[in-house]
């Protein structure tokens, strides 16, 4: 199914691994940040997508380019002025967007936690992901280590050295003291950051053998509901209150799911993109009032046994054929970045 979306493509001469709207207190973002991958010189870029009502042709305007050491593996905003990024060179950066509202907006690295992921033989270990909760930051890497950082300190507050014997690929905060990680082997682990024993509180497996989760997210209003995307394109729902087995498995995309994101304003809406170049919008069928549904714990559709029949999927644009690595949404505007060295702005003109 396709809906009424307008798509604007901009070729940017580099593959985009991460793309994030800069949050805005008026909820009217037009700035966004991209992080590149596989470039001879990677970078973080700040863009302005000013929409000109008169002109049909809207294109993002490059505001600032910040060279970056290694592939950008994650970008997460703490607030509208600060964001955290992780690098394949094993480092984590806290970057500030300055000044707030002026012509010469630019970016500046405030803190660099340099090479905090490293293998024992001295090889650089890519930092694969980073997640934030207020000013708390957690980074994970191929070295299986977990680092606790805080935006107010340039020190590593705590390091869980070799916490996982496989590469950790994804991490999200569940509570202020609790994180969920997933590794190459398909194991998901919950860690209590207050415990000092470097052991996960619990471990559970993706269904099936050898499935590797490629992205994690939690439900915006019910954090115990977690969705994972995997390298075969399936979406799996977990209820962390009973997490030994998945609640639902939806075979969705053709390729690996790169990112999934709930619409925080309308939790019944979910967006996902894949390595096959698909970008989808999932909606709950019917005219049920969304807010009512999602607040009612027992009737959360993602926990329903026949979830497949309760959802409908819209493709936001024809499949690109190259991986879409990242997406972000704000109100009715979706941006995504792809391995065809382009970024897309999709306006949902409902």
């Amino acid at each position: 199914m396709t809906s009424n979306f307008s798509v604007h493509v901009t070729f940017v001469s580099e593959k985009i691994n991460k793309i994030r709207w800069r949050p805005d207190s008026y909820n009217d973002c037009h700035f966004f940040v991209t992080g590149s991958v596989d470039n001879t010189e990677n970078n973080l870029k700040l863009w302005d997508f000013c929409e000109n009502v008169d002109e049909d042709d809207i294109c993002p305007f490059l505001v600032h380019n910040l060279p970056y050491c290694g592939d950008v593996t994650e970008v997460k905003f703490i607030n509208s002025d600060f964001f955290v990024s992780s690098s394949s060179s094993g480092s984590v950066h806290l970057t500030r967007i300055i000044p707030l509202y002026s012509e010469n907006t630019s970016m500046k690295n405030e803190i660099e936690w340099s090479k905090i992921h490293q293998f024992k033989n001295g090889d650089v270990s890519p930092c694969t992901s980073v997640t934030v909760y207020d000013s708390d930051i957690v980074s994970v890497g191929e070295d299986g280590s977990i680092n606790l950082l805080n935006a107010k300190s340039s020190k590593v507050l705590r390091k869980l050295e070799g916490a996982d014997s496989s590469s950790i690929q994804c991490v999200i905060f569940l509570k202020h003291n609790e994180i969920l990680t997933s590794n190459l082997r398909g194991q998901m682990k919950i860690w209590d950051l207050k415990q000092q024993n470097n052991k996960p509180v619990s471990t559970f497996m993706m269904s099936g053998d050898h499935l590797t989760p490629t992205c994690l997210t939690y439900h915006p209003t019910q954090r115990h509901i977690v969705l994972t995307g995997d390298d075969l394109g399936a979406l799996t729902t977990w209820d962390l209150r009973q997490h030994n087995y998945p609640i639902n498995v939806l075979n969705a995309h053709e390729g690996a799911i790169s990112e999934i994101q709930f619409n925080s304003e309308y939790p019944d809406q979910l967006f996902s993109c894949s390595s096959a170049g698909e970008i989808w919008n999932w909606n709950i069928k019917g005219d049920t009032t969304p807010t009512l549904l999602s607040n009612n714990i027992e009737s959360n559709v993602w926990l329903a046994p026949e979830v497949k029949n309760k959802l409908e999927v819209f493709t936001l644009m024809p499949a690109l054929g190259k991986p879409i690595n990242s997406l972000d949404l704000n109100r009715n505007k979706v941006i995504c970045g792809s391995d065809n060295e382009a970024i897309y702005l999709i306006n949902n003109n409902k």
Binding site: T40, E41, N42, N43, L66, P67, Y68, C69, G70, S89, E112, K115, Q118, K120, N121, G122, D123
Partner: protein, 367 residues
């Protein structure tokens, strides 16, 4: 429209061989100075010397990499009558922040030859870990590491007597697991009356022996190098030979009753290209990855490239030669492979020289 990065190889004498690993990111060199050196390309594109060791007690003729599935493994052959297999070891886990010490350990020393070991090549990885050597006394030896995870145990599986001194050998890199293994060997015996100088052998599963399929009688001049082309699933094999000129041969297995009965392949051999561009002896031949460009080295001191075009005919496309002209500073063109963070000093970045060229105004892509 071609640029070069100079890597000062630090050998005290001429280099006999340069070999790149599977990814083209590591380089091994060997020289008359008995040393082998290994270079790694860093993320900025610059080549850094990471190991250098005295590998033999004579000139080191050849160096070659094993497939990375077997780890970081090199083989060398030398005037000192030996061939050796080397593995890179990462030192026992140093403290955090320190770089692990790396060094190359001699895993085995193959001492069966009574004369200079002139060539050494790893077999196709589909057959496990195999190594072939050839030597001046005219013996081809096939070694195998039965446990691919244990490089210190090699067994001499086969010895093939070739009657003429061997100068070079090549494995057929067929991707097809069903093809029997094939080796071609060249001899630099100077006497034309001794007959053909290229021999093709095939491993026969039934007799568990290497069987000579062919002596290529059309090649009676000394052969200095030989190379099978990467096989793109073709039914025939392509062989490049460096002799008094550059020759490209097609070896086509013939499906006849006789070969079906005996289980021994019969080859139909045809010379499909011949280049006298070097106007001199040809020392080396080397194929690109997909086998459509051949690179040859001649006694005229130049390197020449030949490319196959769409109608399967081969044409010379480029010549590379030394030029004593000193570089003016302006010719140095430091390319923008600088790193994002400012902490990387300039010396870390790769420098490229734009190469001068003589010829027509029009460019011929040589790749």
């Amino acid at each position: 429209m071609c640029e070069a990065q100079e890597i000062n190889a630090e050998h005290k004498d001429l280099i006999h061989d340069v070999a790149y690993d599977y990814y083209g990111r590591r380089m091994a060199t060997c020289s008359s100075d008995h040393y082998v050196k290994v270079w790694d390309q860093n993320s900025e594109g610059k080549w850094i010397l990471t190991s250098s060791w005295k590998a033999h007690s004579g000139s080191v003729w050849k160096v070659t990499w094993a497939h990375p599935e077997f780890g970081q493994v090199l083989a060398t052959s030398s005037f000192d009558r030996t061939a050796a297999v080397w593995e890179e070891i990462v030192g026992e886990l140093p403290g955090p922040g320190e770089r692990g010490t790396r060094h190359w350990v001699r895993r085995t020393n193959l001492v069966d030859s009574r004369t200079s070991v002139t060539d050494v090549k790893f077999g196709p990885k589909s057959q496990g870990l195999q190594l072939a050597t050839c030597s001046a006394e005219g013996t081809i030896r096939i070694y195998e590491a039965p446990d691919v995870m244990n490089l210190s145990q090699w067994t001499l599986q086969h010895e093939i007597q070739c009657k003429l001194p061997c100068s070079c050998l090549t494995w057929n890199p067929s991707l097809n697991r069903l093809h029997p293994q094939m080796i071609a060997v060249g001899s630099d015996d100077p006497n034309p009356t001794n007959g053909g100088k290229v021999f093709v052998y095939e491993y026969n599963e039934n007799s568990r022996r290497w069987i000579k399929l062919e002596t290529i009688s059309s090649l009676v001049d000394p052969v200095h190098d030989i190379a099978f082309s990467p096989n793109l699933g073709r039914s025939y094999h392509v062989l490049a030979v460096g002799t008094k000129d550059v020759k490209i041969l097609n070896l086509t297995p013939v499906d006849d009753e006789q070969s079906a009965q005996s289980g021994v392949t019969k080859l139909d051999i045809e010379t499909i290209a011949q280049f006298e561009d070097h106007n001199s002896l040809v020392w080396r031949v080397c194929w690109n990855l997909n086998g459509n460009v051949l690179c040859s080295t001649g006694d005229d001191g130049s390197v020449r490239m030949f490319k196959m075009n769409a109608i399967n005919s081969w044409k010379p496309v480029a010549v590379l030669k030394g030029d004593s002209a000193q570089l003016s500073h302006a010719q140095y063109n430091s390319i923008s492979i600088t790193n994002g963070s400012t902490s990387i000093p300039f010396s870390q970045t790769a420098r490229y020289i734009k190469l001068g060229s003589i010829s027509q105004s029009r460019e011929t892509p040589w790749h």
